[in-house]
């Protein structure tokens, strides 16, 4: 265990934490809006995977990471449209449709990928990184904090922007009303189904972007099933964050650190068995749920379809 505290280890741990945190941060921020509005968006895993697939494909064909991100958003939104139509408009069961959507996208993307690339996994060129002279050159934290792709910083800005919108505009209260007591919003002249559709599509966009990041920046390639539960971790984050974007950020960093510790420990060649190391992030999820799960305060109408005049 002597090599654990070397500069290389710490630097790769920090870098890994951030790289792993960004997709679940984006997914968590997206899911948070759906849940605020009363939609439990289990389909987020599928939206993320679709984002990863479309995002990779676009980046691969156009050689542009930015177009790849756009493609990821598009893939996520397209998947979310299915969710919005079936669960919000038609009021079908959110859990059933969400699980179905995730399974469907898993199968579809694996199939399409197989058709196109057979058993090869082509890679994208390494992304260009930010370079802030002075800061990026700092030891340990320099490359990990100040040498990332621009999209990382945009994700952090999204945290601030969302926090502002929730607090300072009517958006937060409209979402909360749709999630707590949709009938109250309806009779006040608000549009319950409208705001819920918007929230679900936003979740799709954020999850899709997160998926594209995972594929294009995190891995540099697309592998079927590559999201591996990141969307579900996003759901957990959103549930624990009590409506606050900042808490989603903190949570995603903790989970990101746990995820990256697995790779970092393996890279450092520690003598802890690999199986145990790979359990780490999930043990962290369990621990957080046990410690804070009871404090998660969920909207009263979460998961319930709204139908005017019904009782």
């Amino acid at each position: 265990m002597s090599g654990l505290l070397t500069e290389a280890f710490l630097s790769s741990l920090l870098t890994g934490a951030i790289v792993a945190a960004i997709p679940i941060l984006l997914a968590g921020l997206g899911e948070q809006m759906s849940e605020k509005a009363g939609v439990l968006n289990i389909g987020i895993e599928g939206m993320m995977l679709m984002g990863a697939y479309v995002g990779f494909l676009v980046a691969f064909e156009t050689n542009s990471l930015w177009l790849g991100f756009l493609g990821g958003i598009l893939g996520g939104v397209l998947t979310a449209i299915v969710m919005a139509v079936l669960c919000v408009r038609l009021g079908l069961n959110q859990i059933v449709i969400g699980i179905g959507l995730t399974l469907g996208v898993e199968g579809l993307t694996a199939l399409l990928h197989h058709f196109q690339f057979s058993r090869t996994y082509p890679r994208l060129p390494a992304p260009e990184r930010l370079n802030i002279p002075g800061l990026t050159d700092l030891p340990v934290i320099g490359p990990s904090l100040f040498g990332r792709h621009l999209i990382v910083y945009l994700a952090l800005i999204a945290v601030v922007v969302l926090a502002y919108l929730y607090r300072r505009t009517n958006l937060g209260m409209t979402l909360s009303a749709a999630g707590e007591r949709p009938a109250a919003l309806d009779v006040a002249g608000g549009n319950v189904l409208g705001i819920r559709v918007v929230a679900v599509l936003f979740t799709g966009a954020m999850a899709g972007l997160g998926g594209a990041y995972l594929a294009n920046i995190g891995a540099g390639l697309f592998i079927p099933f590559m999201t591996g539960g990141a969307g579900f971790i996003g759901i957990v984050l959103a549930m624990l964050a009590r409506g606050r974007p900042l808490w989603v950020l903190i949570g995603s960093l903790i989970f990101g650190a746990a995820l990256s510790l697995t790779t970092a420990l393996q890279v450092a060649g520690s003598n802890i068995p690999t199986d145990v190391i790979q359990m780490l992030p999930f043990a962290a999820v369990m621990l957080v749920l046990v410690l804070f799960g009871r404090r998660a305060k969920l909207p009263a109408a979460l998961g319930a379809a709204y139908e005017r005049g019904a009782r």
């Binding site: 505009t169 009517n170 009303a177 707590e180 109250a184 009779v187 006040a188 002249g189 005017r308």
Partner: protein, 533 residues
């Protein structure tokens, strides 16, 4: 829009004088006609009171006016023009503001946020404007609210004030208040009455729904009474003005509870009351909350062979009383005595074994397991007891035989004892449940709305059976919202209102006078001392 002028001319002159017209409106829900061919006109400058028992269709009418429901038949008009209110925002745009019977506030948001609910999401809350308007409301209507408090942490009375304030902030032409005084103190209700009068003087039309007849007289300019979805009568302003409060209340009671013309008369049964006391309730009280009313100080004695009726508008604590007696609802205080034995702390099963039986009004959800065969349902309350269970093992043969006997004895129409009970009609389910409650040594039977929802033939048989049960020397507590039924069967009638017994009257067969007296008590208009016989 081409036929708009045509519609105007086709409306009657009475309609043209009003802001809002309801024309031949009918609204059906599965199994019930909630509003039945109702035509009403609401006028500017008037507080128009809608009265009617629970389930009379008042809230459904409010739902139609506020865009929550659309009528199945008939139409609405605004200032003489036919209008369609397809959504709540259409209703708001038409100038109609509603305070609903059930809270339409978001408990997790602040008062200010609740007041601005419905505004575009991208805007910032118009705090300064709302605060200024609240100042005006404070001066004009003595209404003040803590803008930054979380609504869920305020009292129910304050919450109702928020809803009223929200409606007033909208500058509407029509204000609907559906049971808006239910959570207010008498002082608060009085203030609201004055506010309503101020509002109509400034040209609004107010639709006011209440259960309190005195409020209807004091604050109302016009009164309409609904009965089972249909309009049962109207008292116009001139008529109301010429009456004293007592006269008006009498007239309202007659409209609400009077015998409809054409209803067949039901013969009063001969008393089979004996001298020995079977059941004694002393000062029973239960805890109430926002959803269910608590009961307070209920004392009642049941004698063998006696039927004691419990009258009251649905939801005034009758069900809670029945549940408290059956041991299904915890008591805050009080004492229950059966055959001289204190059973206050006995469990549901113990009470049943001692002979205290309860027939719920909720036949399907509470009374039976719909998917189970009739046979299982006949022994649902005796699971594990001999002779149907021996040494912990079920005896299906014995249960089936018992069910067949019950089916024959109570003439249940069913293909066989294996038929799931949920497939039977209400009347036949009721027979099975009655058979179940009469099993073994019954002493007291509590019936909660035993004939509710049954057809005429089954109503007759059920009443016949209740008579027979009393004849056999059992004591019966008969809870019903049907005054005819109570007057036909009961020896005495206790009237419940607001969770208390308002009075107990002897059913002396004095017909219409007694009926109106009970009606007054049901509406909370006659006080305890006067009424107690």
């Amino acid at each position: 829009m081409s036929n708009a002028s045509e519609t105007v001319t086709s409306l009657s002159s009475e309609t043209r004088a009003g802001v809002i017209g309801v024309h031949g409106v009918t609204k059906r829900f599965p199994g019930v006609i909630a509003v039945n061919n109702v035509s009403l006109t609401f006028h500017q400058g008037e507080v128009h009171v809608l009265l009617g028992e629970n389930g009379a269709g008042k809230s459904t009418l409010v739902g139609i006016l506020s865009g929550l429901q659309e009528p199945d038949e008939g139409y609405l008009s605004l200032n003489g023009k036919k209008i369609r209110l397809a959504s709540p925002s259409a209703s708001l745009d038409a100038g109609i503001s509603t305070v609903f019977q059930h809270s339409m506030l978001v408990p997790t948001l602040t008062v200010l946020e609740n007041l601005t609910l419905g505004a575009p999401w991208y805007e910032r809350p118009p705090r300064a404007r709302i605060a200024a308007r609240m100042e005006e409301l404070k001066r004009e209507f003595a209404l003040s609210l803590p803008l930054d408090a979380i609504v869920g942490e305020l009292s129910l009375g304050q919450q109702q004030q928020i809803e009223i304030a929200r409606a007033l902030l909208r500058d509407s032409k029509v204000l609907i208040l559906d049971e808006a005084t239910s959570m207010l103190t008498p002082q608060g209700a009085h203030e609201l009455g004055e506010r309503m009068q101020k509002l109509v003087k400034s040209g609004l039309a107010v639709i006011f729904i209440t259960h309190k007849l005195a409020e209807a007289y004091r604050y109302g300019n016009r009164i309409s009474v609904l009965k089972q979805g249909a309009l049962a009568g109207e008292m116009v302003p001139d008529q109301l003005k010429s009456m004293s409060e007592d006269q008006a209340v009498d007239e309202i009671v007659r409209l609400m509870f009077g015998r409809e013309a054409g209803a067949g008369s039901t013969e009063q049964r001969n008393s089979t009351k004996r001298d020995d006391t079977v059941l004694k309730l002393e000062n029973l009280s239960t805890q109430g909350d926002a959803d269910v009313m608590g009961i307070a100080d209920i004392s009642l004695i049941l004698q063998a062979g006696e039927i004691v009726g419990v009258a009251g508008i649905d939801g005034n604590g009758q069900k809670q009383l029945a549940e408290a007696m059956a041991g299904q609802r915890p008591l805050n205080s009080g004492r229950v005595e059966l055959d001289g034995e204190d059973i206050t702390s006995a469990t549901v099963a113990q009470r049943r074994r001692k002979g205290l039986r309860y027939l719920t009004d909720d036949r399907l959800a509470e009374g039976s397991v719909a998917a189970f065969p009739i046979s299982e349902n006949t022994v649902l309350k005796d699971i594990g007891q001999p002779p149907f269970w021996v040494n912990g093992l079920e005896r299906p043969q014995r249960i089936a035989q018992h069910a067949r006997e019950l089916i024959a004895r109570f003439s249940v129409h069913a293909p066989g004892e294996t038929t799931p009970i949920g497939r039977l009609s209400g009347g036949n389910i009721q027979k099975v449940l009655l058979g179940r409650e009469l099993l073994g040594e019954a002493r007291v039977v509590v019936f909660n709305k035993p004939t509710y929802g049954l057809d005429l033939k089954n109503i007759d048989t059920s009443r016949q059976r209740i008579s027979e049960i009393a004849e056999r020397g059992l004591a019966v507590l008969l809870i019903s919202t049907d005054l005819d039924e109570l007057m036909a069967l009961s020896d005495r009638i206790a009237v419940m209102e607001g969770g208390r017994i308002r009075g107990i009257v002897k059913n002396d067969g004095s017909g219409e006078a007694l009926r109106l007296r009970i009606g007054r008590m049901m509406a909370g208009e006659e006080d305890y001392k006067q009424a107690t016989a």
